[in-house]
Each structure stands twice: as C-alpha cells, then as structure tokens.
Subunit: 338 residues, 2 copies
C-alpha cells in the first residue's frame, strides 16, 4: 500500500526551454520540503551496510513487483529489474497531455524508469565475471525490447552511476533504464551529425573514427573480435573511454549472445582499469543508440561511453558549453593501458 501511495504522489513534468529547445524534467515528490536540500553534506555510502541496503535480498521485497528476474541453479535470484520506487518519469500518466503554459510548452512526464540490481552488495560490475556482465547486457536488451514499442516512447536511456561523486545515491551495484517520450536536441545533434556525415561522405562517422584510431593506435586501450575501446580524440572528460562494436551496428537491441560476451569482456577491462589504475574512480557509463520513435537510423553506430568523474564542470563549461580536459586522451590511454 505504501508503495502504491508513493507512486501516486509523483509529479513529473517536462518543460521545453524557449530559447535553446532543450528539455528539463521536473520530478518531485509532492510536499517536498526545503530541508531535503543540504549542501556540502557528503553521505558516506561506504558505511551503509547490507542490513540497511534497500536492494539487498532481505529488504528488496519492499520494492515494487519485479519486472524481470534471472535465477540461479538454487532458484535464488542473481539479477532483478523492477520499477524505480521514485521514478523520474511515471507510467501512471494516461497521456502526454501537451499544453501551453504562458509562452512555454509543457508535457506530462509519461514514461518508465526501472532499476536493475545484481545480487552481491559488494561486487560491482568491474568485479563480476564476464558471464555475469553479459547477463546484465542481456537484461538491458530484454527491457529495451519490451519498452521500445510502448505508446509515446521515443528514446531509451540505459546507464549506470558508480560512486557518490558520480551521483550514485545507493551503493548496491545497480543500473537504470529510462524510457522517455521525447528526444532531446542534444541527442538529435549527435544523430543529425552522424546522418549529415553519412550523407556527405557515404561512410559512417564512427566507422571512420574507429579506422583512424586503429591505424594510429595512440588512443586505443582494448580490442577483441567484436569490440574496440578508445580514449576519444575529443574526450569530453579526462580518461573518457568509448566502447564501439567494430562492425557498423545501429540498434543496440539487436545485439547477439556472442556480442554480449565480447562486450562484457571490453567493459570488464575498462571498469577494472578505473579501479586499479585510477584509484577506484567514480564513473557514469551509458549507452548511445538509435531512438525508438519508429524511424530508421541506419547511419548511426551504437556504443557505450564511460565518463570517470575526474572534475567538476564549472563556470566556463556551464556558460559556454566548452568542456576543459586536463589530460590528453593520448596520455590517458597510456595510463589506462598499463
């Protein structure tokens, strides 16, 4: 009952900026109090033990009903997906309800927000076996396919925040899946940039970059049969890593079982390097793939990006959109390869 009440109290609204065209998602619980905002108070999530962990076996029954469960031989679960108890977008809205608010455009925050957890409180993705990471990728795909054709859904974001500095408020290893009713201009810019390059050069811009990186080798840090990892020539943050399928693949949801294993190998390599060579850095990892708005995006090339949390975007980044990177990707790759 409590769970149900919580969800009914969700207020979720998307407001479109009149000047830049970007969207902001307002997601609040009703009657939110000002003292919920505390600055400079750093939760030490490391101290939270399994007993208090909402995502550990003993307590997880308090969550919503499971959406997806993978079980082990002993019938105990090894991986679960369930609706976020405090979703950024809510499936309870009946429609998108597009309307004007003064000069602004507003829609209801209709969508899905799910959480994926793995069993062990203390083993993060870097420490899992390759096959267990492949299982996570399999669950990503399963949920993607289930959500992509639902009404109003145009884009699905899959991401993982690791560590307090990267915005993870819960320590237990988890990923998030957010299915949303809009495609932000930031995503369009990337999609359109890729399409425009294809139109002019009749080649995929990502394939060209991968070919160039392979030839140079300077920024490459990992390669297997199906995947390649580089510190991109134009890294937005220090030690950024990008995991590309070597073949031109446009739709993540079509990933094969063999590719999942190969991708899991690449991810394990990257995340282990962050742990060992970069002092267990916090990070955000996310998928970039084609929108699921019914159009074709054959020019696009899906990939995962890993952003270690190495610095704070401050005045210059916020005012001009120009990121400052304190280390060259060529040097970052040297350090990560070690």
């Amino acid at each position: 009952m409590t769970t149900k009440n919580n969800r009914e109290n969700i207020f979720s609204q998307l407001r479109k900026d009149l000047v830049s065209g970007t969207w902001v998602l307002f997601s609040t619980k009703r009657n939110q109090r000002p003292d919920c905002f505390k600055n400079r108070e750093r939760k030490n999530e490391k101290e939270k033990n399994e007993k208090d962990c909402l995502f550990c076996k003993e307590n997880i029954s308090n969550q919503e009903e499971d959406t997806l469960v993978y079980t082990k031989k002993d019938n105990d679960w090894s991986l679960k997906v369930f609706p976020n108890k405090f979703p950024a977008l809510s499936s309870e809205y009946k429609d998108i309800n597009k309307r004007e608010y003064g000069p602004f455009e507003v829609i209801d925050g209709i969508g899905y927000h799910e959480v994926l957890v793995t069993e062990d409180h203390n083993l993060d993705m870097a420490e899992l076996e390759v096959i267990q990471i492949a299982e996570i990728l399999d669950a990503y795909q399963d949920r993607y396919v289930s959500l992509m054709n639902r009404k109003h859904i145009k884009y699905i974001s899959i991401f993982k925040n690791y560590g307090y500095d990267a915005g993870a408020s819960i320590r237990h290893p988890h990923s998030q899946i957010v299915a949303m009713p809009i495609i932000d201009p930031d995503v369009f810019r990337s999609i359109n940039g890729s399409e425009e390059y294809f139109r002019v050069h009749t080649e995929c811009v990502h394939c060209v970059m991968i070919g160039w990186e392979k030839e140079s080798g300077k920024r490459m840090i990992f390669e297997n049969e199906d995947f390649i990892v580089v510190c991109p020539f134009v890294s937005r943050v220090s030690f950024e890593m990008r995991v590309y399928p070597k073949r031109h693949l446009s739709y993540f949801e079509r990933i094969t079982d063999v590719q999942k294993i190969k991708l899991a190998e690449a991810m394990k390599f990257c995340l282990s390097k962050l742990k060992k060579n970069l002092n267990d850095a916090s990070y955000n990892m996310f998928l970039h793939t084609s929108p699921c708005d019914g159009k074709t995006y054959d020019h696009y090339h899906w990939h995962f990006e890993i952003f270690p949390k190495t610095n704070t975007w401050a005045g210059l980044e916020l005012s001009t959109g120009i990121e400052i990177c304190a280390i060259l990707p060529e040097r970052a790759a040297e350090i990560l390869r070690k």
Copy 2:
C-alpha cells in the same frame, strides 16, 4: 622567471567533435603526472588560511604582472585583475593555426584567461557592500572592452565559481575572464534560438519571458528599477536564478554606472539568499552576452545566471542532455524569497 617558465609550458588546444560539432579545450601542463588525478579526495579549502593563500596581499606578488588595479584612499589595492598563472587559453600562441588531424579539426588555444580578486580573503561577493560589487562589475566591463577587439577573440566568458563543490579550487574570492577564439554550438543554439524567436514574433524572447514572469509573480524573487530576478520556468538546476536587465540590452559591455549599482543590488540579494536560505550553497555565476565577433546581435538580451550546486549531473543528463530538477522553480522562489 619561474612564472615565465610556467607559461611556456602551457599546452592548449581546441578539438572539434566530429559528430556534435562542440569543442573541447585541452589544457595541460607538460609532463603532467598521472598521480595528479586523485579521486574521492576532497580538499578542505576552508582550512587554508590567509598565510598560504596565493591571492592574499602578502603572496600575490608571485602572480603575473597586474592587468588592472583599483586602489583605495590609502593607495592599497582593493581589486586586482591579472593573467591566470595556469591559463586554459594562452596569449603566447602566435596564431590560431587551424589544421586537420586525421578526420578532426584542431586549433591552437589562443586567447586570454584572467583572474579578478578582491582584497579580503574572508568576504565573498555576498558579503561585500553594493558599491564593492559594482566595482567588480566595473572591472568586468573594463576587461571585456579591452579584450573584445583583440585578434581572434570571438566570445568572452565571465564567471565566478564559489565553493569546492562548484569547482573553486582556491578559496579566496575571485572571478575569471576567458576570451576565446571560438563560439561553441551551445552558445550558438542560445543565440540562434533568440534570433529565430525575434524573426517569427518580432519580439525578444527574453523580454516576453520577463513580461510573463512579472505578470505571474510566482517565480519572481527580486526587482528594482533596472533589474529583475526570477527562478526560470525551465530551470536547469534546482534554485537556479536569472538576473535580467528589464530593458532590452544586447551588449553587456555597454552597461552604465547606474546600471552597475542596480545590478550589484540584485546580485547581493541573490547571493545572500544562497548563504542564508540554502546553507551557504556553492554556486557558479556567469554572464551570457552577445559574442564579440564583429557581428551585431541586437535581438539578444544579456543576463547573469546563477547555478547553485545542488546535485550532480549523472547518467541520464550525460546520455540524453535532459536535466532533472528535483524542485519546481515556483517552490524554489518561495524558499528564496523568505
């Protein structure tokens, strides 16, 4: 001599993303070592006392030669501007040296990066007198006018980072002025959005928003003869504040002395509220004004934005460009007005 050597060791390069068209600024000291990157180590800048402060009177002679000095009656300085010892962009490059690097476009990071400090180590902008804040604005204008017509300079960013969480590595109150040879697509998007609105509606989009906000009153938090402060309807962060001139003004560098006093009043109000009502929140404050690339931007409406550091942009923001805001600006305004 040391100073000179430091500057010669600056490597600054702008690389353009092949897909999105955005720029990243790589700014490194040569031979940077990997151990300069330490994650999860929070410098407690509060503990740094004046004796160790590079920007305090006794130590400031170690900085570069002053660019601008305001003195008091006793001939001691009250405000100084000088070149950043570790500039993000360097004036030592002879030219922009645009070139191709594989499929990428690269230019040298030619430009200017200056620091403005006020005298008192412990009095931040919120605690200064209105006339002292107006003096800072006067210095902003002075430096803007001096830099805007220099060769290669197309955009000038003026910003202030306050508090460790907002990226301020030095506690002594300071602002930064960065004159750069490019206009990022993020700035263009804002400028073009404003221009497009003007073309369609023959009105300034910011004037329309200000008029609507005044009528509603819900998100207004301050007003005097010349300036108005609102929590924008589409706030990108919780408790965002935007300080607008009430008249349509396109070029910050033309601000009058009277307007400086009135703007200083508005800023003092905003920053005091962050201190008192939001637990001394860290913040980034920055100017948005017309580019200085020789074109006219009469449709634009300059303003200052204040972003309290209330949350971390994580996986969803980084992957989709959609910011999540946990408090409505209507509620934020109520809290800030108190």
